[in-house]
């Protein structure tokens, strides 16, 4: 490994070093705020290293990883999301306070939290840099294992958080099965092509022309099932609401953004380097999955009274919208650049609004309570009690619903543009129908916040929103509106991250 490769890999190395450093730091009795600060510092250093690596990109580092602008863009997105989650976690975990089983161990326990957060970010970065199935599996498991523990993290700390443990177990078992299925798919592809590199596989495949060979289709189907599980697309979505509900809300934000974003970026690279969607059978199945996700995700959200579950189903639908973009690219009628741009923009939008929505929920919740403030009824009259938080949440929800002047609308506009270009009217019809259904639960959530407050709910009033949290959430709100009104700079930036894939 020469110097150039080292520099290119430096962001990944920095995250790793931060995780190790944090473990060492935890040996000493330090205050939680130091741990939080150290984590942030590590992530900031990682971002800085990206600027450095950016000058050299693209660089292939070992047969496993490639650091190009595409990878760096998504890595930056993941690291930024990690930073937001870290910032929000500080106060949230601190509010555990009196409920800790063993008071002396609090600091050490929150050290594990931050270590796992960093390893999750590391796994996600490995995923978006991967160019080889071994790296894919490494990244996926690193991300997955960190998240299993994080999801159940509060269970031993607070006796009341039994749902956390259930969610963690559920995620562990189902995710384990999905990984096994994915591995089997990879094995079948290896049996057919004799290589594990995406680009090499794509070359052999396009030369051999065996688009509908049974082994290849079976292998791809298994591989994509595993990936769809991670993206929680219908019909692999069963775990999502339970995990979202059971996990501490900051971890939910991490699962919703870092995990799904990284896997989607990986899917983009995988599909375009291997040409996985050139098989018509796979295409039609994925189209059905997209339609089912858009419709069923939105429909099931209607029945929920728990805001974390509502957002879980809403995320299923949003990944469904993103899949429309991917499918448009796969049938080769639309320029890859546009696909990359649309998917990148949509993911940025999705990150901003998801982090914002879960951020507000985390500010209103306490880790020490039996569950987060996640019942719709608890939000009744929020606007009259905490207008700032209610307005931020309203903006995030309107953005998720795709109302203009928010970033979510530009994202949806991109999906429509791509869909129209590829003439996928059926998928677009599902998009319109899904969005119309979606409006119902987003608006119901919004209207609850503006209803007159009942006296009994006054006790859940946040006494005080920490200035740090307020700052982070306000920044997300500004970003939401700024990108919604002036998307050009971000669009140009994403355009510069396109790869010469072919």
């Amino acid at each position: 490994m020469n110097q150039i490769e080292l520099i290119a890999l430096s962001p990944v190395l920095f995250v790793t070093a931060s995780a190790v450093g944090l473990m060492l730091l935890a040996a000493f009795k330090v205050k939680p705020i130091v741990l939080n600060g150290f984590t942030l510092l590590g992530l900031v250093a990682t971002l800085a290293a990206m600027l450095w690596a950016d000058n050299l990109a693209p660089v292939q580092v070992t047969p496993l990883l490639i650091v190009d602008r595409f990878a760096l863009f998504y890595s930056a997105l993941i690291v930024l999301a990690g930073m937001v989650v870290t910032l929000l976690s500080g106060r949230y975990l601190h509010s555990l306070g009196l409920h800790v089983v063993q008071p002396g161990r609090q600091a050490h326990l929150s050290a594990e939290y931050y270590v796992l957060l960093l390893t999750a970010v590391l796994g996600a970065m490995v995923l978006v840099c991967s160019r080889h199935f071994a790296a894919l599996f490494l990244g996926l498991e690193l991300l997955g294992v960190s998240l299993y523990v994080l999801v159940a993290y509060l269970a031993p700390l607070s006796e009341q958080r039994a749902a956390s443990l259930e969610a963690g177990m559920k995620y562990l078992i189902l995710s384990g099965v999905a990984s096994a299925i994915l591995l089997f798919g990879v094995a079948l592809l290896y049996a057919e092509f004799g290589t594990l590199e995406y680009s090499r596989l794509g070359e052999i495949w396009s030369v051999s022309g065996s688009h509908n060979s049974k082994i290849v289709v079976a292998g791809l189907a298994l591989l994509l099932s595993g990936i769809c599980f991670k993206l929680s697309l219908v019909p692999f979505h069963m775990w999502t609401p339970d995990v979202y509900e059971g996990a501490p809300v900051t971890v939910t934000a991490l699962v919703a953004t870092v995990s799904k974003g990284a896997v989607f970026a990986l899917l983009l690279r995988l599909v375009f380097e291997t040409g996985a969607f050139s098989s018509s059978a796979i295409m039609s199945v994925m189209a059905v999955i997209a339609i089912a996700s858009m419709l069923i995700g939105n429909l099931l959200a209607l029945l929920q009274r728990n805001v974390k579950r509502i957002l879980a189903y809403s995320s299923i639908a949003h990944i469904g919208y993103l899949l429309v973009v991917l499918l448009a690219g796969a049938n080769r009628q639309t320029a890859i650049d546009l696909i990359n741009e649309a998917a990148g923009f949509y993911l940025v939008a999705y990150f901003v609004m998801t982090l914002g929505a879960f951020g507000v929920i985390s500010v209103l919740s306490r880790a020490g309570n039996a569950c987060d403030q996640d019942q719709l009824a608890e939000y009744r009259g929020l606007f009259w009690r905490a207008p700032g938080m209610a307005l931020i949440l309203t903006a995030m929800l309107l953005s998720l619903a795709g109302i203009p002047l928010t970033v979510g609308f530009i994202g949806k506009f991109y999906v429509v543009v791509v869909g129209v270009q590829a003439m996928m009217w059926l998928l677009l019809g599902a998009l319109v129908l899904g969005s119309a259904i979606g409006l119902f639960y987003y608006l119901r959530f919004v209207v609850v916040m503006f209803m007159p407050a009942e006296r009994e709910s006054a006790k859940t009033e946040p006494r005080f929103v920490a200035p740090g949290d307020r700052l982070v959430l306000s920044a997300l709100l500004v970003l939401l509106l700024w990108l919604g009104v002036f998307p050009d700079p971000l669009v140009r930036f994403i355009q510069s991250t396109t790869l010469g894939w072919f």
Binding site: I403, V416, Q421, R444, V447, F450, P487
Partner: protein, 507 residues
């Protein structure tokens, strides 16, 4: 320049009103009145001094054009022709009426209420002035959200349901329009290689008959929901009934007109062949609306619901006139839009006033109010008579022109539409009879109209009379360009010139 200033005035003014109210610096109502007054002044002053530019055979004033999202060739292109100007004028005027009509009604968080009101009006002004289809769509949606809040927060007993229904109907149909807009832009891009959302360029898009028809439907459905035409009207009675008075005034007076405006400005010129093909179906829908709205209005016991159904009936005339496809029909449609804006706003203001006094909208609990409130009664009688189409008042001019136009296009449909003229007196006089005549209800305390209400209703009455006696004031302003482009109209010739001029702020 004046238009962007006007829109910014409403947006920024809305924020100011809210903040001022929170800080208890000023009364939100007076501040809103002053802002709207400034807006009216700005518009009239700008219009009086504006130079015009001719594009596609129409005079455009107060143009404004700067790039917005360059990735997609989206510009902030604003300009009004006579039609747009009249509509903006109506919007600002009814904004004033809305504030006056809710003067005492809104008791909690007045600042936020007037913020929403101003933002709705800003969105509507945007809709009437945007000449970039993306921008138009943005304004189309922007006017929804604050109106949703107005209904959902300050509305009556069933407000949540009504607000949600209103929003979902409009937004879902709006998404269809977004698909159609993007489709249209894409076909233009394929044909010419220019990626743009500019209205004037898109007028020129070559479309096959089938594609044109589908795209036209995408636009038409969105506008028909807003209008509303029968079949997609079911949000209207709920929204209008549940909204607070100011909300009902704006909904009936202005928001419905955006649908009609959309058809006149976009559907017919963008898709002339498809529209011609669709005309008889649309006219049939119009007649359906006229008769259905009138029949259902007759069956209502809820005062606001009754007025809401009459709106469906009157807007049916607009649809009929637009698709008649001749100058008379279109002028009649525009005149009906203005006249209906006045009468429906006045009647909703009256319904709000009654509800505030006796806390019910149920007409079975009213009666004999004439002796208690003769001034109010006289004004309501005036507007009811205007609504039923008394010659000499604006509504008559509008509906008469529509019928003349429609008769040329399709005689049998027009004959059916004339039934509306018979039904209108029935439901209009029903209101007078049930509310003002009959046995007085002794337990209902009722104060007569105060100065504020007399001024408000008086202004609208004056406009109704003036438009009825001198319709050419408006018809001259909006004619000329309203004769829609025939399919073979020379568009491209002066297009580049016009666009070039629009690049510069005109005044």
């Amino acid at each position: 320049m004046m238009l962007i200033l006007l829109i910014m005035l409403l947006f920024v003014g809305g924020l100011l009103v809210w903040l001022a109210d929170r800080a208890r610096l000023a009364d939100a109502r007076w501040l809103t009145l002053i802002l709207l007054g400034c807006g009216l002044g700005l518009l009239l002053f700008g219009y009086a001094n504006a130079g015009s530019v001719e594009v596609v055979g129409r005079q455009w004033y107060l143009g404004y054009h700067i790039p917005w999202i360059q990735r997609f060739g989206i510009n902030l292109t604003l300009a009004v022709d006579g039609l747009g100007f009249v509509m903006v004028l109506l919007t600002l005027f009814l904004g004033l009426v809305a504030v006056l009509s809710s003067w005492r009604e809104i008791e909690h968080s007045r600042g936020f209420f007037h913020f929403n009101l101003l933002w709705t009006l800003a969105g509507v002004v945007g809709v009437f002035t945007a000449l970039d289809l993306f921008l138009f769509f943005v304004f189309w949606e922007v006017m929804l959200v604050p109106m949703y809040f107005i209904i959902a927060i300050w509305g009556h007993e069933n407000r949540t349901y009504a607000a949600l229904k209103f929003f979902i109907f409009t937004q879902a149909s709006g998404l269809l329009m977004l698909l159609a807009i993007v489709g249209l832009v894409y076909y233009q891009y394929q044909a010419s290689g220019i990626l743009t959302f500019n209205y004037f360029v898109l007028l020129d898009t070559p479309l096959t008959a089938q594609v044109g028809y589908w795209l036209m439907l995408g636009f038409f459905i969105a506008f028909a929901v807003k209008l509303p035409a029968v079949l997609v009207h079911s949000w209207l009675p709920d929204a209008h009934t549940q909204a607070p008075t100011a909300g009902s005034v704006i909904l009936a007076g202005v928001l419905l007109k955006t649908g009609a405006y959309g058809i006149i400005r976009f559907v017919v010129p963008l898709f002339p062949e498809a529209s011609a093909q669709f005309a008889s179906l649309a006219m049939a829908l119009g007649v359906g609306s006229i008769i259905y709205g009138a029949a259902l209005a007759f069956a209502q016991t809820d005062l606001k619901r009754l007025i809401a159904y009459t709106s469906i009936s009157h807007m049916g005339f607009v649809l009929l006139g637009v698709y008649a496809g001749n100058e008379e029909g279109l002028q009649g449609a525009v005149m009906t839009m203005l006249a209906h804006g006045m009468t429906s706003a006045a009647l909703f203001a009256f319904a709000g006033a009654i509800q505030q006094r006796i806390h019910t909208r149920d007409m079975r609990q009213m009666g004999g109010f004439w002796t208690r409130a003769p001034r109010l009664g006289a004004w309501v009688l005036f507007f009811s008579v205007a609504a039923l189409g008394m010659p000499g008042l604006a509504n008559f001019v509008g509906e008469f022109l529509v019928l003349i136009g429609a008769f040329k296009a399709n005689a049998w449909i027009t004959v059916a539409a004339c039934a509306g003229l018979i039904l209108a007196p029935v439901y209009s006089l029903l209101v007078i009879q049930k509310v003002f005549h009959g046995e007085p209800q002794p337990e209902r305390q009722l104060t007569d109209a105060g100065t504020r209400e007399v001024v408000m209703l008086g202004m609208m009455a004056v406009i109704t009379v003036v438009l009825g006696l001198f319709p050419h004031l408006i018809l001259d302003l909006v004619s000329g360009g309203l004769s829609l482009l025939p399919p073979d109209a020379p568009v491209s010739g002066d297009l580049s010139v016009g666009l070039g001029l629009l690049q510069e702020p005109i005044n």
